[in-house]
Amino acid sequence: MTEVTAANAPDGTPTRGGASAVTVARVRGRGPARWTWGQLGLLVVLATVVLFTVPNPSLAIGMLIYGLWASGLNLLVGYGGLVSFGHALPFMWGGYAAGLVLLNVTTSVWLALFMAAASMALLSLVVGAVCLRRTEVYFSMLTLAFAQLGFFIALQWDSVTGGDDGLAGIPVPTLWLPGTTLELNSLRDPLTFFLFTAVVVLVTFAALILYTESPMGRVLQAIRENEERARGCGYNTRLVQLVTFVVAGTVAGLAGGLFAMLNNFVGLQPYWLLSGGVLIMVILGGRSSLFGPFLGAVVYLLLETTLSQYYASWQLFVGAIFVVCVLAFPQGLWGLVISARPRRLLSKVRRRR
């Protein structure tokens, strides 16, 4: 006997048995068009829209940073099928790393960001090596455990992290460019800060696209689909997952570093809330692309700021919206947008090629 594995939509989201007409249409025949490098264009558009419509500059910059963080996490969640509950760990510690460099070593933005990314790559290598010894929910629990561990270390290690008070008074970073020197002061000159962040985010995002399009990234998806078969092709599947864990951690570290510079401060925040928040951004935006989670982050932050103005218990609403999203469109906001495009026209164009 042969098992029939048709109970999933092409974007990797499981559908329930007796799928609706819509789902069947999606599953049948050719898969939906894949956005690859086009995602970079989408991101430029999104960043431009954010720049011109979001009145609060700190929120606009935060959207870029959180978006990058969420896109990086989706390497694990969407592409790798590895749900990390502890992605706040490299984000916060990346913030500490950048903050410590700026406070104690140099105000060079490049060095601070490099240290944030490199130290979190190293940390992720260790954490990933342990967590990936298990799969599925056990993997998730291990990532959560490490995040909690990191939280308590940050809390106890006063001399380095400032404990409860956090790292305050992080100096304004300096951007040395050939010919000029810029101060990245998020309060006095938010536009420069926004543009700098946008460039860093775009370049990193492009690297993420390249990773998903590379042979290695393809294997990552193949492992998600069927690890046994990937082994049968000769791949060291753990190695591929570990490299991905390191890449996602590095990106989170970089994002955390940017976030520390934005606020000139790094403080303790409950990890499980932050880790959960970034997961919600991923699921809300959609797991089948890198752009989806970015969009998810922007929408999430928009909801958060809008709702929190009116309701003290805004998280209740975010939670409710999230539940509705998961139940009604598991492919996420971006998945919804893609599948709403006139499919017939698209398939015609493709056939003509």
Partner: protein, 248 residues
Amino acid sequence: MTDLILRAENLDRSFGGIHAVNDVSLEIPRGTLHAIIGPNGSGKTTLFNLITGHTHPSSGRVEFDGQDITGMAYAKVARKGLAKSYQITTVFPLLTVFENVRIAAQAAAHSYVFWRPADGIKAVTRATEEVLERIGLAADRDVIASNLSHGDQRRLDLAIALATSPRLLLLDEPTAGMSPTETAATVELVRELNRDVTILMIEHKMDVIFDIATTITVLHQGKKLFEGAPAEVKSHPLVQEVYLTGSL
């Protein structure tokens, strides 16, 4: 001395009280098509698993192309040039047919490349297209694997194995669940593949392999019952009895 690609010596494995593979030895000369037949539960798949490293033998050893691979992990064995297709279809369900095969085709030379897009690696694309052409799935290259018919999924399973460019191809009932027409086409395909790769194949439908196999090994309750050329196997009284009555 014949040039052996695979030598399995006295392989043995039990599961609880079941002696799944009982002291089985195999010698497969390069270039041949060796078939393993036997009733349900006679240990055919387990024997495969002992060879590929899925299951460790409690005793015995496996030598592939002159190298001891006993107890070596499956992925490592695969890298050495031994590929297997599955009795229960095992593909990457939500990837396209092309992607399924490309994953296998890139394994040899570009396995862990992350600094350039897979689409740009011409050699891999060409190798993938060749395999699709050969297996007869070229027209379905953009179809999501789980949308293929059962028979086509079986062929895709085989295509993935083939795309790793193995020196020994292990096929576990490649025609399982296929219609007579599909079965005939697959048998023809296997015969054609055998021109440049050694094949070790499990088959349930005896009649389909009599024409193509060089040697047939008959397993029964984990033991090697008989081994010989197809004509000998066909006329052997013990074999007939096993197949007609299902027991000895």
